[in-house]
Point group: C2
Chain length 698, copies 2
């Protein structure tokens, strides 16, 4: 599906257009990396002013470069790039990386240049990475279009980045840490190829097992969702997204001119596509090596095997904080451990073999724990001791890990004394962390990812019974000059999508109000209808518990005159008469349209505490039934609905149905920008829900 | 005040009792460290079986060791340690470190040995560190009673640990990271000298600027509070406490036999003494170097100066997540930057000087930003670039940092390319972090610590008007066989400490109920009094809004017969008649006695959502007014009381008064183990509070 990107990563020949002979120029650095690396195809510098650079013959133009050549790397001043792209197209080259800056990121003129490049490329069916990037480093084909110093070890992490500097820093950081990569992609301005394209390519790249990304913003949210959802089932995607805060979003925007977007929407997108979001670069590496070397545990029961107590306590806290628990070893396992270990050893969990523990004791203990049916995963901890060689311990752990399908990770706590052990362990596909806290965190991430993957994929719910699009069209047409729809106008929108609302009627005078109340049944509520008084309660525009015709009539009159007095400017459009609804749990359901992803649906605790408690979760429509359920379950409101202190469970299925219908309404009518039902009353299981108040924005 | 501990860290002569000539023995390692290190006093191995070890003459017993000698390091089998301590005492040695294990941690026999050692030591006014520890390494005196390989650079972090392995791992970790220490103390079983003693010593140790601790459990909580509160005003204490989770607490207990205690209480203790709690070993080092090299910023306005956008975005997010914000540079500063930097540079904040930024540009930009009145702190970021030497950049940053009293920290993102820069920066007292996220976190920690320190110290509130201890004594005497006191019996406890309670009377029949209601005024509430029905509401034991004598009378009868039917076993002790209280904000105030720290006072959102929302904060009594206020402000309930959406502020002072009085009640009466007021109704500012329900446990 993504084979048109292959020449970027494994080209048959590479033309470097604009290579300088000056060693202080970046284009010289690119040629040096191409020549000194392991790339075995042809490398052709193109520069009419030189006959050769670094021993490579230089070509006057792209047309004179010999076959085969399917990747052009362009490092020329921005104004001359469009004609160069044109020349590459004519030469039949299908992939080009534009290293040069001076495009979208510098303003309108740059953007115009960028757009011209894309237009030309489209004409030739060329794909472009960049501009304003450092390009690609592939550890398997040896292609390296970057000017970054150093090449990390070969491995199975594919890394994509919207920042070239991050790529460079990552390479520099991992050089001495035994962390292997399949490839790096610096995407720059993403004029053509974007993050979703690269993720799609990496999902079929045989050298990539884990996809790691540094991201500032996504262009097409719905396509990203569609691709990420599929890819996460094949390979884990680990994401470091900046712009989580307003300050971060501002930094992103001043950096690349792109919009970081609402992080709430990104989080929802990540949650529902199984993307593993990390909060720091350090965590990105920790999680990636966990994912690339090991498999997710089948449950959360973990054994710690250690030669010291303190680090085991740190690990225990970290495991607990990350949803894991200490496994209960069987009596048989404990008896076996007692027979093999130091008589003073602790054979419970943590298994503390004491400071003198030799490689053989680690082997015995780990093997026994991994064979225990109560165990899903092991964490082996070593602190440096005078007489034990950490690398030897690493070797036995690696051997044991190779023989089990349970999860084995390690923490060798220290620095100089344990770096050889890390080399050994990573070479044997066992991740090693300096601190036990990191190991605990990664174990939790592995488990959560495993749990996510083990849930049925489900399908997006997009077909509903009882939907009347025409009714919605009609209301929207009738109200087309109103930016805000109050309760009276939002009620029929909900009704058209079969979202249950409290029975009510919109009336224009007291007599009609009485008639409506008689029909609906008592007790009744009266609510003012006014486009200028949307906070009805605070405006004194609500009267509750009216028990007979007289009280409805007098309430109507009193409320009307009071509101006319307090808010003389407010336009009054009658009142809503509603039957008082029976008490239920109060939740809130809402939707606001995100610029990147579309309809962002919200669920949380409703009523007066909404603002104080911010107990809300988000997902993007369309979604699966499972995703809606996950959203509900992730909130405290979800716990309330599940039944606290022996209370009966509430009708969560009806809530999910509302969530899905509200999402569909938003998908069907893009002109609705926001909609909120607060409160939605939720009754006992089987007894449904009832929207008690609602409003919408266009 | 703590001069009796000085010989541990700077002894005039050291006797090593039990030194082996076998290089695989730990006692040999200790002698090697003492001999090979920089210690300049006399080192005297004591072992009757050798005439010399490692070129040092060996003494037959401690009495034959020449003067001066004021520290004995004992590495002998546990059973012979008490007699050795005795011999040391006779020899006039005032400080001893017992390295050996085999004491409390192995069971009752070991504990008995340990107690004997302490008893002997007390007799001679000796102080003991250990047993079961690795002792002390002091980088200034050169004393090193550990067998740890390697010695970290001299610096100003004093590290104490309840785990010897952690000490060893820390030394190993920091060896190549340019992190300097003043000393290490491994405290082992803390038979005599404990964490509080060491913290007290370090507070006066001139070589220590920051106190770092790995802790498993504290013995005397109230003394710890008293000392830590004072020391935090002089030197920051950075704490890594394990046992935060149940699993962690279990691991601690199986490790040392000590109790980790409730982490809630520890957190409260740390909060109110200004101790900086960290959650991982990695964070411990990050925070310590920040604290030791730099001063807390005076505000949260931070400038990022960078040569690349991605890491600046990461930093911005991290700063925001840690309570810092991006400063608004003045137009003058921006104009200056524009005149000095690359024309394409961003001169807003983050100041992005682009990839080619030279040391001089860093110097210009940092100087200008530090001179800006809108700036409290700067974060300089560098990603490795082809043509810029990071160490040169480090040097100019160090020079500028030396000339300002604002905060300067850095993140040089990478590995091999930036390690020399770290050496330079740390040498010039500027902390360098590998990842911008770490820098952002540390900046936030520095700021919070600065803010804490800038608050007036205040004094513990222990004197109250309107306290009637005798009344409490009487109630406790009358109820001495009751483990639980219901509302009826808890009300007078509160009243005795002038905590306002809703007016009410405890009556035994319907007629008295009516009489009481008439006296108290309508509407009234009736509540069952029964030691067996503490959840009165769930038992059907509450009737509200009774508006006249007839309804009180009938409610009494109905409730009584229904309860007799539903709960035939329950002992019924009459009913409480209460005047219905006006509506107010519902909060909860409580106390539970912590085994380590004593009365742990709680405050949070009350009413039905308590369990669902767990919006609670804790402090230990006695406390200052400021501490009580901080506790209230740290909760969502505090935000509610402060006034949401333009609502008037509630009577927070009255809440604080209740909190302090409840704490005093708990301090005065240790037999009360728990007490809870839920809800406490809080009215508008100046209108006080009212306890609506309460209970107590002994």
């Amino acid at each position: 599906m993504t084979s048109d990107l292959k020449p970027f990563f494994a080209p048959s020949g590479v033309a470097l257009i604009g290579t300088s002979a000056n060693p202080t120029k970046l284009s010289f650095g690119i040629l040096r990396n191409m020549v000194e690396g392991e790339y075995r195809g042809g490398v052709y510098p193109v520069n009419p002013r030189h006959s050769e650079v670094l021993g490579k013959p230089c070509f006057a133009d792209i047309s004179s470069v010999p076959d085969p050549v399917d990747l052009a790397v362009i490092a020329l001043p921005a104004p001359s790039v469009p004609e160069t792209v044109e020349a590459c197209g004519q030469r039949g080259i299908k992939t080009a990386i534009i290293i040069s800056g001076g495009f979208r990121e510098v303003g309108p003129q740059g953007l115009e240049l960028e757009n011209r490049c894309v237009k030309i490329a489209r004409r030739y069916k060329m794909r472009i990475i960049g501009p304003n990037c450092v390009g690609i480093m592939d550890l398997y084909s040896g292609v390296n279009t970057t000017f970054i110093k150093g090449v990390p070890p070969k491995g199975n992490i594919g890394f994509l980045s919207q920042s070239g500097a991050i790529c460079g820093a990552v390479v520099d950081y991992v050089l001495d840490k035994d962390i292997g990569f399949s490839n790096f992609t610096s995407m720059g301005n993403m004029a053509d190829v974007n993050e979703t394209d690269i993720i799609e390519y990496l999902s079929v790249d045989p050298n990539t097992k884990v996809i790691a990304a540094y991201l500032e913003g996504i262009k097409d949210g719905q396509r990203f969702l569609e691709v990420a959802r599929k890819v996460s089932r094949i390979k884990p995607i680990v994401m470091l997204k900046v712009g989580r805060s307003e300050a971060g979003a501002r930094a992103v925007s001043s950096h690349t001119g792109s919009l970081a977007g609402s992080h709430t929407a990104y989080q929802a997108a990540f949650e529902q596509t199984g993307i593993i979001e990390v909060e720091s670069a350090a965590e990105l590496f920790d999680v990636c090596i966990g994912m690339v070397y090991q498999r997710p545990p089948k449950g959360n029961r973990t054994v710690i095997v250690t030669n010291s107590g303190g680090p085991a306590a740190l690990a225990s806290d970290s495991l607990a904080a990350n949803g894991m628990r200490l496994a209960d070893l069987t009596p048989e396992t404990q008896a076996f451990l007692r027979s093999k270990l130091n008589p003073a050893a602790q054979v419970g969990n943590p298994v503390d073999m004491l400071g003198g523990a030799e490689p053989q004791e680690y082997a015995d203990a780990l093997k026994a724990c991994l064979a225990d049916e109560n165990v899903d995963a092991t964490l082996a901890i070593l602190t440096p001791q005078a007489l034990v060689n950490p690398a030897d311990v690493g070797k036995v752990i690696g051997e044991i890990a190779a023989q089990t399908d349970k999860t084995v990770i390690t923490s060798f706590v220290g620095g100089v004394s344990v770096s050889e052990a890390r080399h050994v362990l990573h070479g044997m596909q066992v991740p090693m962390y300096t601190f036990p806290e990191q190991a605990g965190k990664v174990m939790g991430v592995l488990r959560r990812f495993g749990a996510w993957r083990s849930k049925p994929e489900g399908s997006l719910v997009t077909a509903f019974k009882g939907i009347d699009q025409k009714a919605v069209q009609k209301i929207l047409a009738e109200t087309k000059n109103q930016p805000i729809l109050g309760e009276a106008q939002t009620r029929p929108l909900l009704a058209a999508y079969s979202i249950p609302i409290v029975p009510g009627e919109w009336v224009q005078n007291a007599d009609d109000a009485v008639q409506a109340a008689e029909k609906l049944g008592y007790p009744a509520a009266l609510k003012i209808v006014s486009p200028d008084l949307l906070h009805k309660s605070e405006a004194g525009g609500i009267r509750l518990n009216l028990t007979d015709a007289a009280s409805v009539k007098s309430a109507y009159g009193e409320m009307l005159s009071k509101i006319k007095k307090d808010h003389p400017q407010a336009r009054l459009e009658g009142m809503l008469v509603e039957k008082m609804a029976p008490k239920g749990h109060e939740v809130i359901i809402g939707m606001r349209r995100d610029a990147t992803f579309g309809p962002l649906v919200m669920f949380g605790l409703g009523g007066i505490y909404v603002e104080l408690l911010t107990d809300v979760a988000f997902r993007i429509a369309p979604m699966t039934h499972q995703q809606a359920l996950d959203m509900v379950n992730s909130t405290r409101a979800g716990k309330l609905l599940a039944g606290l202190r022996g209370q009966p469970a509430a009708d969560i299925e009806a809530v999910i149905d509302c969530i899905l219908r509200l999402g569909q309404l938003a998908l069907d009518f893009p002109e609705i920008s926001e909609i909120e039902i607060n409160p939605l009353l939720v009754y006992e299981s089987g007894k449904g829900v009832l929207a008690l108040d609602a409003r919408a924005l266009r």
